[in-house]
């Protein structure tokens, strides 16, 4: 068990209708690691996360959580195994209150019983979220919503988290807060797959960086290696 990675993606294929978006994609993430997948828009980053979490049925390959193949299982089953997907644009329930949104993270695995303790922890960690607990989610700013999305992922412990472009559309100061929160998740022991369009914010937390192009990983390495590789920096990532 100990040497099999927490999350293994092997030969994954997935797409929409007749068009294949993800092809032969391999990715291993060890327990407690943060794997960052970077790549340009429209090359399959979101599709990859959706295929892992079961929101999209892969057409081939394997997705293993702690050695168990979960391809073809429903999103609710996969979620029950400890995987949390924080989708792009938060995936909050706009007409429900912030607290109810957080409680949506407490389904499965007996987490409902410990919900009050977990809520209190999240409110301690994100006072901004605590201040808005009884407001509807749609009345929050983008940064606040993202914190709620991350907070909701924290309602269950020992997680594999998929985080989709946490910096998208946020002001720099809000991005810093969000990345601080992700750093907290990492030190709390979460295994994280995070996708971003570029290198800008991930230096502090990335254990490995993977470059995704036209649906497959074309380069992998540490942040230190990839961020100085001139070809990769120029071709895919723009400036660092």
């Amino acid at each position: 068990m100990s040497d099999s990675p927490r999350l293994r993606v092997a030969g994954l294929r997935a797409g929409y209708g007749d068009s294949t978006v993800i092809r032969d994609l391999n990715l291993d993430v060890g327990a407690g690691e943060v794997a960052v997948v970077v790549g340009p828009n429209g090359h399959g980053k979101t599709t990859l996360l959706r295929a892992i979490s079961g929101l999209l049925k892969p057409t081939g390959g394997q997705v293993e959580l702690d050695g168990t193949d979960v391809v073809g299982q429903s999103a609710e089953r996969i979620s029950g195994l400890g995987l949390v997907h924080v989708p792009q644009g938060d995936g909050l329930f706009p007409e429900m209150t912030v607290e109810e949104n957080l409680l949506m993270g407490a389904f499965g695995g007996g987490a409902w019983r410990s919900r009050r303790t977990e809520l209190a922890k999240i409110y301690d960690r994100f006072p901004v979220v605590a201040a808005r607990a009884h407001q509807r989610a749609r009345t929050l700013s983008g940064g606040e919503r993202r914190l709620v999305g991350l907070g909701r992922a924290l309602m269950r412990t020992s997680q594999i988290m998929l985080i989709d472009e946490p910096s998208l559309g946020l002001a720099p100061v809000a991005i810093d807060t969000v990345y601080e929160a992700i750093g907290d998740l990492k030190s709390g022991g979460a295994t994280i797959v995070l996708v971003e369009e570029n290198f800008t914010h991930v230096g502090q937390i990335a254990d490995s960086v993977h470059v995704l192009e036209t649906g497959t990983i074309v380069a992998s390495g540490s942040y230190a290696e990839l961020s100085v590789d001139p070809t990769i920096v120029q071709t895919y990532l723009g400036s660092v």
Binding site: F93, M104, E144
Partner: protein, 356 residues
């Protein structure tokens, strides 16, 4: 975390002491109505309205809170009514047990109806459930076995209060149905704040994301249909007991339109919406009782006005204005427009210090 709120307070987090007091007073006033009203026609209208309210509470649960476009609720109501009525006619079962049996029939029918809707959404759910209601009505109308009495309906059913005089039976029915309304409202309020209610509203607002959070659409939809069906069945059983008969006229487009109008005008998906909508439309209907042609037209206009101008219904309108007033009182500078936030907004939680 040291002081744990009591189980009761946790079940109704929206209820302050003041709100409990107001609710208590309103219930007492409602319970005293039969003491004051001596007109038996008025009593009949009141009991009929309360029975309709039980049905509307059940329908609001599945339509407004669970967000499933179920237009088969009147068939479930009728099935509960026929089930209880047939038991009262042909067996010596206690009528109170027959009442419960009506609820069970409703729950079973609703669960059976829930399965085919699982893969559908929106208008397709409406079409399927409406077709179900039409089929049930057709089957009852064309029943050759004599069990349902076809278009004539069930003959004289002994009700809950068998040999009592009309006046005393009317009052007993009034208090019985009022008790069911109070219990049902408390149950729906508690459920909508529980894990079940949060799951249902999550599935309503974003089914895929709710499933990705581990909320099973199958399990929760079945529970929602079963609970709502049970209550609708009880409503049907109350109807057959009170009227001592039931016929296929309780189903169909006209009664359904009136019920939907009541829900929409009151405020769908809210706890008090069905009560307000049912009461209001019952008053309008009673006032128009001598102009049968005008009744549906005026209700239609009512519905149109509410849908266009007050999409949240009366409950939505009231909470918006209460918010406006309380924010206006709390804030000197009318800088931002807080009207968008129709939940309990802390005005001092200013936006400058929050994450952009």
């Amino acid at each position: 975390m040291s002081e744990r709120p009591s189980k009761f307070a946790t079940a109704f987090p929206d209820m302050t002491a003041g709100r409990w007091a107001i609710s208590g007073v309103l219930i007492v006033i409602a319970a005293l109505v039969p003491v004051v009203v001596s007109n038996e026609y008025a009593m009949t209208v009141l009991v009929t309205t309360l029975i309709l309210l039980v049905l509307n509470i059940s329908w609001n649960f599945v339509l407004g809170i669970a967000g499933v476009w179920n237009f088969g609720q009147l068939a479930i109501y009728a099935l509960g009514g026929y089930g209880a009525g047939i038991l009262m006619l042909h067996t010596s079962l206690s009528p109170w047990l027959a009442l419960l049996a009506g609820g069970v029939v409703g729950a079973v029918a609703a669960i059976l109806l829930a399965f085919p809707t699982l893969r559908l959404y929106g208008i397709y759910t409406s079409l399927l459930t409406f077709a179900f209601a039409e089929v049930i009505q057709y089957v009852i109308l064309n029943d050759g076995s004599g069990l349902t009495g076809g278009s004539f309906g069930l003959p004289i059913v002994r009700g809950l209060f068998g040999t009592a005089s009309i006046a005393s039976a009317n009052r007993s029915y009034y208090w019985t149905v009022l008790a069911v309304v109070v219990l049902a409202t408390l149950a729906v309020a508690a459920v909508s704040r529980s894990s079940l209610g949060i799951a249902l509203r999550g599935l309503r607002d974003a089914p895929a994301y709710a499933a990705a959070r581990g909320v099973s659409p199958l399990k929760f939809r079945l529970i929602a249909f079963a609970l709502s069906g049970f209550l609708a069945g009880i409503a049907g059983a109350l109807y057959v007991s009170f009227n001592q008969s039931i016929d296929p006229g309780v189903m169909g487009l006209t009664p359904m339109s009136i019920d939907v109008t009541m829900l929409v005008i009151g405020g769908m998906g809210t706890i008090t919406g069905p009560i307000i909508g049912t009461a209001l439309l019952a008053i309008v209907q009673t006032a128009l009782v001598s102009h049968p042609g005008a009744e549906l037209t005026i209700l239609g206009v009512f519905l149109l006005v509410v849908v266009v101008f007050v999409p949240g219904g009366i409950v939505g309108l009231v909470s918006r204005y209460r918010k406006r007033i309380s924010t206006w009182v709390a804030e000197d500078d009318s800088g931002g427009d807080p009207a968008e936030n129709d939940d309990d907004v802390q005005p001092e939680g200013s936006t400058e210090q929050s994450v952009a």
